[in-house]
């Protein structure tokens, strides 16, 4: 009899702790937004987040109104997410080609008409890039994002040719990726 009661009590405790854990679990999306906000950039607006796998994520964000655009690479930790590397540039509309911790990333705004994005690497490999969308809450003054993004942890993305297509398969734009990532890093004023 006593044994039964003990088993019952242990069972109840386990069930309650599982319920509590589920209730108080903040989702990954939320944790990543908090992490980017902690960079203390004024008026940060976190855009779409791409979960590469269980342990890695890439996030696009704007800050200073729409003056600057950034890409952050995040690693999963025991309790949340940590930014391993990030970069921010002036929002010019040009393709952003950056090398972060594990990943090389190319991304920029996708025109509303763009439905398909194809990436041809310098070694001839052809792949398609994803279009990431995040609807912003206009009441909160958030911006809606529609960006195409392509990344790799093995391939060299230098000199890749990106072609965007509309719904009829017509070419919208052909974009040449620069030959060096993080172009700005070595840049100085003339």
């Amino acid at each position: 009899m006593r044994k039964k009661i003990a088993v019952l009590i242990v069972g109840i405790i386990i069930v309650i702790s599982i319920i509590l854990a589920v209730l108080f679990k903040r989702d990954d999306q939320q944790k990543i937004v908090e992490e980017i906000n902690a960079m203390n950039l004024p008026l940060t607006d976190v855009g779409p987040i791409e979960f590469v796998d269980n342990d890695h994520a890439l996030a696009i964000f704007l800050w200073s109104g729409i003056g600057h655009i950034g890409v952050a690479e995040l690693d999963k930790t025991l309790f949340g997410w940590d930014i391993s590397r990030a970069t921010s540039e002036f929002l010019s509309g040009d393709v952003q080609f950056v090398e972060l911790n594990h990943f090389s990333v190319i991304q920029t705004w996708a025109d509303p008409s763009v439905q398909d994005v194809s990436v041809e690497l310098e070694n001839g490999v052809i792949d398609s890039a994803q279009i990431l969308i995040k609807e912003g809450d206009t009441k909160k003054g958030e911006i809606s994002f529609r960006n195409w993004l392509y990344y790799s942890d093995t391939e060299d993305l230098s000199n890749a040719i990106v072609t965007t297509y509309d719904k009829d398969g017509e070419v919208v734009e052909v974009i040449e990726v620069p030959d060096q990532p993080n172009e700005g890093l070595d840049r100085t004023v003339e």
Binding site: M39, N40, L41, P42, W63, S64, G67, H68, G70, D82, I83, R85, A86, T87, S88, E89, F90, S92, N182, G184, L185, D186, R187, T188, V189, E190
Partner: protein, 166 residues
């Protein structure tokens, strides 16, 4: 009697031990908070610089110690051009070419702020009537960093010097 004494002594001992252990724990959290504040201040400073001179930032490390590199963007030159224009009409404002080339943006920004303060001392030493025909110190920063057009005296001086600021 002796039992009571043992009880009292042990309560005091426990209380002392608790006190001793609380102090380092408290210190630890205070230190941690202090460090976080410092980190936040450093990050905000970089953001401020990046906004003022439209710079790019590459974050190598966001935790202790923060490690970033700043670089000019396509928009930076435009602001520096305005800075150079101001040096032509106000020689007290210098253009720290070497620092700018080295991407030492913290020092670059400090340099401009310091020179504006020097000019402010000069400006404040003048009478109200004389000040009316002088360029206001705050107008310098606004013109370079914010593209502000509210100082007639600054724009007039540029016009007179034949400098095209549009």
């Amino acid at each position: 009697m002796s039992k009571k004494r043992i009880l009292i002594v042990s309560i005091i001992l426990i209380a002392v031990m608790v006190m001793i252990s609380i102090i380092p724990i408290n210190n630890y959290f205070e230190e941690k908070q202090q460090k976080q504040k410092e980190l936040n201040r450093t990050l905000s400073n970089y953001a401020y610089l990046a906004q003022n001179f439209t710079l790019g930032i590459y974050y190598y490390e966001l935790d202790n110690p923060i490690q970033v590199e700043m670089f000019p963007t396509s928009r930076t030159q435009w602001k520096l051009d305005r800075w150079k224009m101001v040096t032509e009409i106000l020689p007290i404002i210098e253009y720290p070419e070497e620092l700018i080339k080295e991407n030492a943006w913290i020092e670059v920004s400090d340099n401009l702020e310091r020179n504006i303060e020097h000019y402010r001392t000069y400006y404040d030493s003048k009478s109200k009537i004389e000040q009316e025909s002088l360029i206001r110190p705050d107008a310098i920063w606004s013109f370079i960093v914010r593209n502000s057009r509210w100082s007639d005296n600054l724009l007039r001086a540029l016009d007179e010097a034949g400098i095209d600021y549009d």
